[in-house]
Amino acid sequence: MFESLFTAIEGFLLSFLPELVVWLVIKAAQIVAVMLTVIICVAFLTLAERKIIGYMQNRIGPNRVGPRGLLQPFADVIKLLMKEVLVPAKSSRFLYIIAPLLTLVPALATWAVIPLFPGFAIADINAGLLYVLALTSLGVYGVILAGWATNSKYALLGAMRSAAQIVAYEIAMGFALVGVLMASKSLNLGDIVEAQQGGVTSWFWLPLLPLFVVYFISGLAETNRAPFDVAEGESEIVAGFHVEYSGAAFAMFFLGEYANMILISALTAVMFLGGWESVFAGWSFLIGTPLEFLMMPGLFWLAAKTCFFLFCFLWFRATFPRYRYDQIMRLGWKVFIPITIVWIAVEGVMVYLKVGPWSV
């Protein structure tokens, strides 16, 4: 449905514009569309977080602005934008101001390679998986620079914790992706989704179950979310790296954190839960019934799976107490990395002996 629309628009533009300009216009339109969607999702994710955690704790959550509190995110955004951005006197001004941007930009730029529906990604590149790894590893700069540029002890402590934590979990994350690469035999995210064709049991979560769990938990740690949110650690170091940020600069950090959450959820869905593949793909008895449309792959399935993981993010925050710092390090270095290495070896044997869904 989307493809025919795209070709129609492309044909119309080509009738009076040169090819290069049309290409630029279409890509720019796609980028703006994806970015706006992500930002609006972030807005409602903040509301969903407060509502869901509210219900889990037997409260109602925000319900004053708009029907059932639906306009709350807009009230928050307007409030944050109206506030003054304070820059501490002894801070490193330039780095202090670009730090929030450095957390937000990689989170948005990674969406370029994510396959949104069959045959479509803004940039369908061969080294997609590497690109994802490289960009998600850049996000830490915002946190570190914010912590340093603020010139405050609490902020510096937060930045230190975050740097050590992200470097530790990135290794486990990278190894988990090596497993995905071995199973799909491609670095292209679209090909990875296609390698998982054929219903729930042929998605990679089952043969790569340890890697799936390690990847999602490492993603949780990479985004500095509870129970790994020691970089903020409000009970010990006030608010960590963003202790001095206010107004629009703080809003950027907020946006970056939530955009990262959505990104990690979408990536987990793409790599382990079959991306845009349908949950009901293998159910042949549905053919010919009115429910046949459920078997179609599409953007809806990717969105549904992403929402599931986002719910997990919120659920974990409401459930688990914060890890102690040394326990975080122990989990990352001494538990996750050995698990991933062992499972990659097991997977190598499985590939060699041609057992597992990918041998077909």
């Binding site: 590497l130 590893s137 570190i144 470097v167 122990r330």
Partner: protein, 199 residues
């Protein structure tokens, strides 16, 4: 034409960033300039169709090495004035290194102009050519033993570094996580029954 313009832009940014690394007064700013230099050279590699090397440069150097570097630089209290004191004594060595590097680059360019077959201009690869797969195939078949050996040397370096810095300290309290997990309520809490007291 486009390629030349982009190359000029990125090459200029790369050189400016490299100057920034040595010219800025603050070590953290220097480190950030180095990050910029890495990212721009990754872009130059992408333009040479070496996408695997380009992205891995960002992943390894920018994503991991420089983060640890920054980590250390931020913790140290470096006084840039004392660092600058030896500038004149070290300047001749720096100049020699720079001259040798320029001579090497010049010799490569000169060699290419001589029309040697090994230095001939490389044809651009087809669009579906994956240099990740090519690199993997070469590394893990033809050069598998040198590759494993290099990995082993690196592992040895890690182990050596850990051995050198690990020291036993007496009276150090250490926690045994398995013991902590295995603890029962009865080990920690004693419930005492007593009558309510009143003043």
């Amino acid at each position: 034409m486009f390629e030349l313009i982009f190359f000029g832009m990125y090459a200029f940014v790369l050189l400016a960033a490299a100057v920034g690394v040595i010219a800025s007064r603050n070590p953290v700013h220097s480190a950030m300039f180095l990050v910029l230099a890495f990212v721009t050279s990754a872009v130059l590699w992408l333009m040479l169709e070496a996408e695997f090397l380009g992205i891995v440069l960002v992943l390894v150097y920018v994503g991991a090495v420089m983060v640890l570097f920054l980590f250390v630089v931020m913790m140290l209290d470096i006084n840039s004035d004392t660092l600058r004191q030896g500038f004149l004594t070290y300047a001749p060595i720096g100049i020699i290194v720079a001259v040798v590097a320029v001579a090497q680059i010049w010799s490569v360019v000169w060699l290419r102009d001589q029309g040697l077959p090994a230095a001939a201009r490389i044809e651009p690869a087809a669009a579906d050519f994956s240099n990740t797969a090519e690199l993997g195939a070469v590394l893990y078949t033809e050069y598998v033993y040198p590759f494993e050996l290099a990995a082993f040397v690196l592992l040895l370096a890690i182990v050596a570094a850990i051995v050198l810095t690990m020291r036993k300290r007496p009276n150090l309290k250490q926690q045994d996580i398995s013991k902590q997990v295995a603890v029962k309520r009865a080990d920690r809490v004693r419930i005492v029954k007593m009558d309510a007291e009143r003043d």
